[in-house]
């Protein structure tokens, strides 16, 4: 389990865009570096990220090596009613983590 910080506005208006900010603790090892013995350090990055709102797709992101450690993602979404945002990401080790956050629409 990696640490994840998710921020959504407390007040969200129906059908108006709001920002979702996500900070994920991850080394994002590029696979280009070598260790002190000259061995390649295997690539270990978050390769996919998706966000759904009550099961409906908000966005899918495919990620590549040129992203720094501890990636910060910020995107907009629109909601009609209160619900649950589900954020799901997978890294090269095949570890999938799911985080949920409730949003309140007024």
């Amino acid at each position: 389990m990696v640490r994840v910080l998710i921020n959504v506005p407390k007040q969200i208006r129906a059908n108006e865009p709001f920002d979702v900010k996500v900070l994920i603790s991850h080394p994002m090892e590029s696979g280009q570096r070598r260790d002190q013995m000259g061995q390649t350090i295997p690539r270990d990055i978050i390769n996919s990220f998706s966000c759904t709102l009550d099961g409906e797709k908000v966005l899918n992101i495919e990620m590549f090596p040129a992203i720094a450690a501890n990636p910060f993602l910020s995107f907009s979404a629109v909601a009609e009613k209160s619900g649950t945002l589900e954020l799901k990401f997978t890294d090269d080790d095949g570890v999938t983590q799911t985080e949920t956050v409730a949003i309140t629409v007024s």
Partner: protein, 281 residues
């Protein structure tokens, strides 16, 4: 030195962020004139390096992007460490079965503590940094092994404690003989490149080293998230990096030299706003 902690500082800092006008700096320049007099009595004049009015935090010279990252707690990656620190705070560790919270209670009780570090420790007869203080708690009171100096858990805890003093003025006791020893080390040429700290961070502060701006070297944001490191680091990590850069043998983390240099740098930055956890390039 007397603790100069007007309650207005956090208010002004918030105001600054809201308005974009640096009331804090102006107020500091005003109060620093008064503080200079105090300082002249307490510290030999020779130690006054950079006049308080000209002091610049690394924040002042950072790019707008980097500043925005530091200003927004949701974008500042250091808050991943704060989160880890919060969960560690109440987890018992060691043979005594105690956690930080067992003795200190809520983390809010740490308000203002970090602004006074490095602080003299009578048992060790030298100043200790906040990270060392946490390790002393572990070995002496919790019966737990000390963390390595660059352990992520140690940084998480010191970041969490440091955060409780954010926006307060630094108020470190200018204790002798450590202050003088630190000042001497600051000016001492070292390493194969034969460079002293002062040659860059005093004489050439504001100029460039390769493409990067040379900061004045104030330790008011540690532990900080450095984009170059892609992680958190303590002041000791910074000192170590600089010393490796001059091709000198770094002072060990628990040495009197490292402590004295840290104390000197902190006293030099007294009155500046604590920015922990800062974001730097």
């Amino acid at each position: 030195m007397k603790k100069a902690a007007p309650d207005l500082y956090p208010v002004m800092a918030r105001l600054d962020r809201a308005t974009g006008i640096n009331t804090m700096e102006r107020a500091m320049a005003r109060s620093s004139r008064a503080m200079t007099i105090v300082r002249l009595i307490l510290i030999p004049a020779a130690l006054l390096l950079i006049g308080a009015g000209e002091r610049r935090s690394g924040y002042d010279d950072a790019s707008p992007d980097t500043r925005a990252m530091q200003d927004d707690d949701n974008a500042n990656p250091a808050f991943l460490w704060v989160k880890q620190g919060e969960s560690l705070w109440s987890v018992p560790s060691g043979t005594a079965g105690k956690s930080c919270a067992s003795c200190h209670g809520d983390i809010a009780t740490m308000h203002g503590v970090a602004a006074h570090y490095p602080k003299f420790d009578p048992k060790r007869d030298r100043p200790v940094t906040l990270e060392e203080r946490i390790n002393i708690c572990r070995t002496d009171h919790m019966g737990a092994p000390a963390f390595a100096w660059d352990d992520d858990k140690l940084l998480s805890l010191s970041t969490l404690v440091g955060l409780q003093s954010r926006d307060m003025p630094m108020a470190v006791e200018p204790r002798e003989p450590f202050l003088s020893q630190g000042a001497a080390l600051f000016r001492e040429r070292m390493g194969q490149l034969n460079l002293s700290c002062a040659q860059c961070h005093e004489d050439r502060a504001g100029l460039k080293l390769a493409g990067s701006l040379i900061p004045q070297g104030h330790p008011n944001g540690y532990p900080e998230y450095r984009l170059e490191w892609q992680g958190m680091g303590s002041l000791y990590r910074r000192l170590r990096n600089c010393m490796v850069g001059t091709r000198a043998e770094p002072f060990p983390p628990d040495s009197r030299e490292a402590a004295s240099l840290a104390l000197f740098l902190a006293v030099r930055a007294n009155g500046m706003r604590v920015e922990t956890p800062a974001v730097r390039p």
